[in-house]
Amino acid sequence: MSVSGAGSTLRSVLERELGTGALAGGEAGPIEIEPAEPDALAAALRVMGEAGGRARVRGRGTWDGLGNLAPDVDVVLSTRGLYGVTELDTQDGVALVRAGTTLDDLVRTVAPHGWEVPLGAPPEGSVGGALAVAAIGPRRLGQGPPRDCVLGLEVALATGERTRCGGRVVKNVTGFDLAKLYTGSFGCLGVIESAWLRLRPRPESVAGCVAPLRGGADDLALAIEAARRPTARCAALVDPERARAIGLETESAVLLVELAGSGPGVQGDLAWLSSRASASTVDPEAIDALGRSLVEPPPPGGARARLAMLPSSCVRAVRALRESGARLVVHAGLGIVHADWDAAAEAVDAAARIAIAVGAEARFEHLPDEHKRGRDVFGVGADRRAVVARMRALKRRFDPAGVLNPGRFLGHV
């Protein structure tokens, strides 16, 4: 059944399954469904699979701009209605969270018990969305990748089965590690209903500091050294324009650092930074502002790429990126560079060329639609044929009818 012309049939089948009140939209655009219970979510998927419908899965819309241009869908399936922290074990530091819960709410729930959430997504974004795109924020250095905090998932398959993988315990090899596979899979293999997350103890002490940079290769060496201090959880080299945009008064690029840990540890690393650079303290809110600025789209017509490379390649990449006119945020200790260009046409050429030159994995985080056309925004530079082949094999088995997020991820999977 084709998508066009199938809308009314699909709508009637969905209404029969879910009830008339469960559906919205649909006249000029896709049907909107926001199930309040996982059973309804799974039922909607099953119906779509049977009726040949296609769905775009959405949390709270934080990542709407990310991904390839995709075919029109019949349904936008929102997880916003799956809300709340279902369980919180304050002694073990684990929580079961429904996918539509905002990160902010989760943080507020666990913080009074001495825990924090090691996810780097915007506070208003959903936990499910952050996991689906494997969002990383400015504190990734200390938080680690999102996959590390996912202990288990409850996932509705495209064929309508409700499934669990992993569990609530912090160490687990019971069966294949599907939670890793789902995390960062862009909702192509299933829809996350809930997640068991491993929390972290809130640090005893947190300090932010900022140091002006001279401009040169030494800057990156300093940034890498700073990132390797025991308590560093953010060490980002920020170009002056963005530094000012996030409230820092500077004419030069800066090294923005956040330290978190025991009191003596943080003090020790602060002393080290002061001895190496003219560091001054700054409200750690600057780190949050940096994170927000990297999610917000660039000005119209502009583009942003994320390149991941070995830290030792950063010097070469940063030089080439700056020569191409990009403004940068460089997490040198991690080898991650966010590059903004004013003109997307310059970006598409420069990002691919530089990614290949330094052996980086690269993607466009923001790119105007006209530049996405005919392009894979996740396939910048490197040859990923082996990965895409396996992704397609997985997609065929997990989602044989092609219901979930068609065409949006790497290789237009």
């Binding site: 996959r147 669990r164 090899v173 019971t174 294949f176 025991p230 025991s262 070995l310 080898g335």
Partner: protein
């Protein structure tokens, strides 16, 4: 001569293919010795190309193949299946690259775990996953099992340290997944491969993350009147926000076995349990953490808390823990090492229940475990020659697993499912839960020729899943 052997010898040479009864006998099981199956041949490849050629020979002959590292696995993950070719990776044991600046290493799968840390120590680095068998087990085996170890609590398991893999897929193609950068685009295929117990392909190269040797280490030994008190102390530490590098508990029966053995560490034989707590990090951070460990231990009834004065004493503390399995040999000729995980807060009640199960079955059950992770290792010492004893061991093992699952736990934390726990998977997962595991397996190996009969139990999908249906004779599958 068997045509298959001839073809394999054309790939790896005469010395690289073992086919006599005596040679194959050595490989009929791994660390799980309860059952054994002799492979049709054992091949010892030295390169990715040879692995690829072996896989192709096997596929053309319609013969299943099973990868194996050092054979230290405890769940039968590397146990041969009838008629299989066992691909033993121990000759692929080189460190291909150490990149100190970026803190990564590229190694072959047959490299012994401990040798990697040894090699990078002069650079101030180490490889964090440290299974108890690290002097013998290989990185490839660790990848297959997602191995942990005592220091998992702070540093994570193998999956947290593997950045990229090269593997020979079951169809004989070579693929590379992941990225040394740690941020690869696309599905997390490395995450899927690590812990897949050699069922998705044969890993031939591994890129791992190295971590800096901490500036300071403090190791404490606390003596408790019983295991439950020691567990409560662990709960207080974790709940209070401490993240030690390791929190290990050894119970009285094990202490006595250790003290009677060559591993004797001078522990009080009347101690109900000992807790080894290791903290690491910046030197200036350690004293307050040491104080918190001491306070929590004393509050929970520790009669003595001792901080290792130097490296010699630290190693002495660890001797009791690391020598425990060796010392078990004094208790009985056979040892069944169990592995399950429970929410940490439930450790005290679960430990009591586990000991009660052992008593009820009249078994010598002792406990050495990663308390900080809630990862239990109930060890049952027995003699399989005694009529009925093995049956009691297995029945008690099942009850232990059921108890752990009822408490919100799982059936394995680091040993893997293999064949040992394949049919216990349904204690944790129902048929729907198993469906995506089957999808994953079949996206890599639709014919189930690579290590068949492991991990996934018989299900309603077994017609497709059963390798017997694909012409492999007598493969035990549920």
């Amino acid at each position: 001569m068997d045509a298959l052997i001839q073809r394999l010898r054309a790939v790896v040479g005469e010395a690289g293919c073992l086919a006599s009864d005596e040679e194959r006998f050595v490989y009929e099981c791994d660390g799980l010795t309860l059952e054994a199956t002799r492979p049709r041949a054992v091949v010892l490849p030295e390169s990715t190309d040879q692995v690829r050629a072996i896989v192709r020979v096997c596929r053309e002959a319609g013969v299943p193949f099973v990868p194996r590292g050092a054979g230290t696995g405890l769940s039968g993950g590397a146990r041969p299946v009838p008629g299989c070719v066992l691909i033993e990776c121990s000759r692929m044991d080189r460190i291909l690259e150490v990149n100190v600046a970026d803190r990564i290493a590229v190694v072959q799968p047959g490299l012994v775990n401990a040798q990697l840390s040894e090699a990078v120590r002069p650079h101030g680095l180490f490889y964090a996953p440290d299974p108890s068998s690290q002097q013998a087990c290989t990185i490839g085996g660790n990848v297959a099992e997602n191995s942990g170890g005592p220091h998992t609590l702070k540093y994570g398991t193998t999956t947290n340290h593997v950045l990229a893999v090269e593997l020979v897929l079951p169809d004989g193609e070579v693929a590379r997944y992941g990225s040394a950068t740690g941020l690869a685009e696309g599905f997390d295929l490395v995450g899927a491969v690590v812990g897949s117990e050699g069922t998705l392909g044969i890993v031939t190269e591994v890129t791992v993350r190295l971590v800096p040797i901490p500036e300071g280490i403090a190791t404490l030994l606390a003596i408790f009147p019983d295991v439950v008190s020691a567990c409560r102390a662990v709960g207080e530490m974790i709940g209070g926000g401490l993240v030690p590098a390791a929190l290990e508990i050894v119970d009285q029966r094990t202490i006595r076995a250790v003290e009677d053995s060559v591993y004797a560490a001078g522990l009080p034989r009347d101690a109900g349990a000992i807790l080894i707590a290791e903290l690491d990090g910046a030197a200036c951070e350690l004293p307050p953490q040491v104080a918190r460990v001491r306070e929590a231990s004393e509050r929970c009834g520790a009669s003595r808390v001792q901080v290792a004065a130097d490296e010699r004493e630290r190693l002495e503390f660890w001797r009791a823990r690391k020598g425990a399995f060796g010392a078990m040999g004094r208790l009985a000729p056979d040892l069944y090492v169990h592995d399950a995980v429970v929410p940490r807060a439930k450790l005290p009640e679960i430990l009591e229940a586990v000991c009660a199960i052992g008593d009820r079955y009249g078994l010598k059950l002792s406990n050495v475990f990663h308390a900080g992770d809630g990862n239990l290792h109930p060890n049952i010492s027995f003699d399989r020659r005694d009529p009925g004893e093995l049956e009691r061991v297995l029945a008690a093992g099942r009850e232990i697993l059921e108890t752990c699952v009822r408490a919100g736990g799982v059936i394995t934390g680091e040993h893997g499912v293999g064949v040992e726990k394949r049919d216990y998977m349904k204690l944790v997962f129902d048929d729907d839960d198993l469906l995506p595991m089957i999808h994953l397996r079949e996206a890599f190996d639709p014919d189930r020729s690579c290590n068949p009969g492991k991990v996934i139990p018989t299900t309603r999908f077994c017609t497709e899943a059963d390798p017997k249906a694909r012409g492999y004779d007598a493969v035990p599958l549920g």
